[in-house]
């Protein structure tokens, strides 16, 4: 009896090994040749690229860089500041041309590692740190968030709106403030409830948070919570008469019947613009601002629902034009 069990365990172990390495072996027949002449780009994301949001859009951007510039690309998912630094250093040592840390939280690691590898350009998405080979991308996400606020205030019946974030990060807070400002520009009477889930992964917690806010009569929800935000969509789908906004990526397809639109950061476009500059040697390390004018940040209405009333659309269009011409409403948080 015991002997059998032991045999089974070792058989099972062998089976699992062959299966898993077999599967991976098929999947990973990628470019192995390390051609030093090729433009090499690495991406570090703070979360899973399956979130259909912040990290997914970065990974899509990496794909664009590979396809449009013929670059050799690598991606790694990192969790802690210790890992940020380790991976920055490893890519620097491997002679990569461009290494992107996708979040403000990478700026400290970039500052530490950058000086050691002057041939590599280190870029953080968000943040303000710059140096001879260190730059930051800044998305003026507040502008389209303001437009979403206008839409929200125009469709709400209860006059209660809600914003749900993953954790309280500066850019998220700024976009929520802009959303509230946009809503109040239409109707000063609306209330905006704010909640943070406490992480960016837990879809169950996201759903609970959304249901709690809906119970407090919120009927339009602006969420910015990556993978946890998928739970918000789920809650809205189950609550008749409630609308939701997508954020970061175009999330209109996740719950097409109840989504008003998405506040999009076109990260792929931003990455392509960045990588082109770096590849041709034209890049000047700085904080690169992507605003409405660059078309990297924009409001994308959901085409699957009936169009908004013409008056609302006209209002949104005129404010967007004002942003594009640099004469939009003054928004706090812009760096």
């Amino acid at each position: 009896m015991h002997v059998n069990l032991r045999l089974n365990i070792s058989k099972a172990v062998i089976f699992i090994h062959t299966t898993i390495f077999g599967i991976l072996g098929c999947g990973a027949e990628g470019p192995k040749v390390q051609d030093s002449q090729r433009f090499r780009v690495a991406l570090l994301t703070p979360g899973p690229i399956s979130d259909q949001s912040w990290n997914a859009s970065a990974y899509a951007g990496l794909g664009i860089i590979r396809d449009s510039l013929g670059a050799d690309v690598r991606h790694v998912q990192t969790r802690t500041p210790a890992e940020f630094e380790e991976n920055f250093r490893q890519y620097g040592a491997a002679g990569f041309d461009l290494v992107i840390g996708h979040g403000f939280e990478f700026q400290e690691a970039a500052q530490r590692v950058g000086p050691e590898f002057p041939r590599t350009t280190f870029v953080t998405t968000g943040g303000t740190g710059t140096g001879p080979n260190i730059a930051a991308l800044s998305f003026v996400f507040e502008e389209p968030s303001y437009l979403a606020g206008i839409v929200a205030a125009s469709v709400t019946r209860s006059k209660v709106l809600a914003v749900i974030g993953g954790t309280e990060l500066p850019p998220v807070r700024a976009s929520f403030d802009a959303f509230a400002a946009g809503a109040k520009s239409v109707n000063p009477q609306v209330t905006v409830l704010t909640a943070f889930i406490g992480n960016w992964e837990d879809a169950g917690a996201g759903k609970e948070q959304a249901l709690a806010l809906i119970a407090r009569r919120a009927d339009v929800i602006y969420q910015n919570a990556d993978a946890a935000g998928l739970g918000v969509f789920q809650a809205v789908r189950e609550s008749p008469g409630v609308w939701v906004f997508g954020s970061n990526a175009d999330q209109n397809h996740i719950a097409p019947a109840v989504t008003l639109g998405s506040v999009v950061i076109d990260v792929p476009l931003a990455f392509r613009l960045l990588a082109e500059e770096v590849k041709t040697g034209r890049f000047v390390p700085r904080v690169v601002h992507f605003d409405t004018k660059s078309n990297v940040v924009r409001w994308v209405p959901n085409p699957a629902i009936p169009p908004l009333p013409p008056a609302v659309r006209a209002r949104v269009d005129s404010v967007r034009l004002a942003f594009a011409e640099g004469r939009g409403p003054e928004l706090a948080g812009r760096q």
């Binding site: 015991h2 069990l5 032991r6 365990i9 070792s10 099972a12 172990v13 699992i16 090994h17 898993i20 390495f21 991976l24 072996g25 999947g27 990973a28 990628g30 192995k32 690495a42 899973p48 690229i49 399956s50 690598r74 991606h75 790694v76 998912q77 990192t78 969790r79 802690t80 500041p81 210790a82 890992e83 630094e85 380790e86 991976n87 250093r89 490893q90 890519y91 040592a93 403000f104 939280e105 400290e108 954790t167 309280e168 990060l169 500066p170 406490g198």
Partner: protein, 313 residues
């Protein structure tokens, strides 16, 4: 095969990989693994090493940031003491609840983990936030509060020395001293230890609990002092939980915790390398590392099963 090569290269393949990736990752796992092994030996199911580590990190960061500038020889030991005190206090809450009200430590320590997560979130947005008050993180420590590296050009820091010393000391105490005998006795059977051995189980247990918390807290101090030089929210990616596996794989023996911690450190370092070098997706890396871990456990179990019943470990 490329994948396994990348895995090996990332964990052991170069001096940098071993000293700066594997061992740096093994350091917190070693200290927390010892904390868990000690508690489990005494029959205390301390699942709260994660929270104790975080409190240790907060306390050490507070010392580094708030105290007037001091030379490194003063600052670093102070950070160690603060970290240990922070972890011990956090464990002390659970110890007190257990002794006074009979609250199961499995429950109280898990709950305290969540409180610790909230505490660090508050700290980096409140008392310890960086001066511009924009980012949820603390200011970077002054040079005197950064723990020394052991080898020039490598990221391995003082923390691993503390871990090895702690492992040696813990092994000696548990295996060779009367205190260690009492700890093992209450772990083996609290009632028997009391009636036959005259040991007061609850008193011993409370002290072991505090010591366990102090070790986990030291790991937190070592992370902020040796690696990040600042306090962040994601200071621990679940070291406190991984450490339970580290301790159990080592069969709660401090000497084997060293080996087991290096093994887990190598798994993490190799996993990162698989993503970096071979382009394997992060989730697939988790599958591979879990497979390796399961295999090692299965082999360990298999070898163990061949040993006659009652044989010494």
């Amino acid at each position: 095969m490329d994948i396994l090569v990348a895995f090996w290269d990332g964990a052991f393949g170069s001096t940098y990989a071993f000293w700066s990736a594997t061992l740096v990752r093994a350091t917190p796992l070693l200290l927390v693994g010892l904390a868990v092994a000690l508690a489990f030996r005494a029959g205390i199911l301390n699942i709260g090493a994660e929270g104790q580590l975080i409190l240790g990190a907060i306390a050490a960061a507070a010392v580094a940031l708030q105290l007037p500038p001091a030379p490194r020889v003063v600052m670093v030991p102070l950070m160690m003491l603060a970290g240990m005190a922070g972890g011990a206090v956090w464990a002390g809450i659970a110890a007190l609840l257990r002794r006074r009200f009979g609250v199961l430590e499995v429950i109280s320590t898990i709950m305290l983990n969540f409180v610790a997560l909230a505490a660090v979130s508050w700290m980096v947005r409140g008392p310890l936030q960086e001066p511009t008050r924009v980012y949820p993180m603390s200011e970077t420590f002054a040079a005197a509060a950064r723990w020394p590296f052991l080898i020039t050009g490598q990221r391995l820091h003082l923390g691993i020395v503390l871990g090895l010393l702690a492992a040696g000391a813990l092994w000696f105490v548990l295996a060779r001293t009367a205190v260690g005998f009492r700890i093992r006795a209450i772990g083996a059977g609290a009632r028997a230890a009391q009636s036959a051995g005259g040991v007061e189980p609850e008193r011993v247990a409370a002290r072991v609990f505090l010591a366990s918390g102090a070790l986990a807290g030291l790991a937190g101090a070592s992370e902020v002092g040796g690696v990040t030089w600042a306090l962040y929210e994601g200071i621990s990616p679940g070291h406190g939980y991984t450490a339970i596996a580290v301790a159990l794989l080592a069969r709660l023996d401090p000497r084997w915790v060293v080996v087991s911690a290096v093994f887990f450190g190598a798994l993490e370092a190799g996993g990162a390398s698989m993503q970096r070098e071979a382009g394997v997706p992060a989730v697939a890396v988790q599958i591979v590392t879990a497979t390796i871990l399961l295999s090692v456990l299965a082999i360990a179990q298999w070898r163990n099963a061949r040993r006659p019943v009652g044989a010494p470990e």
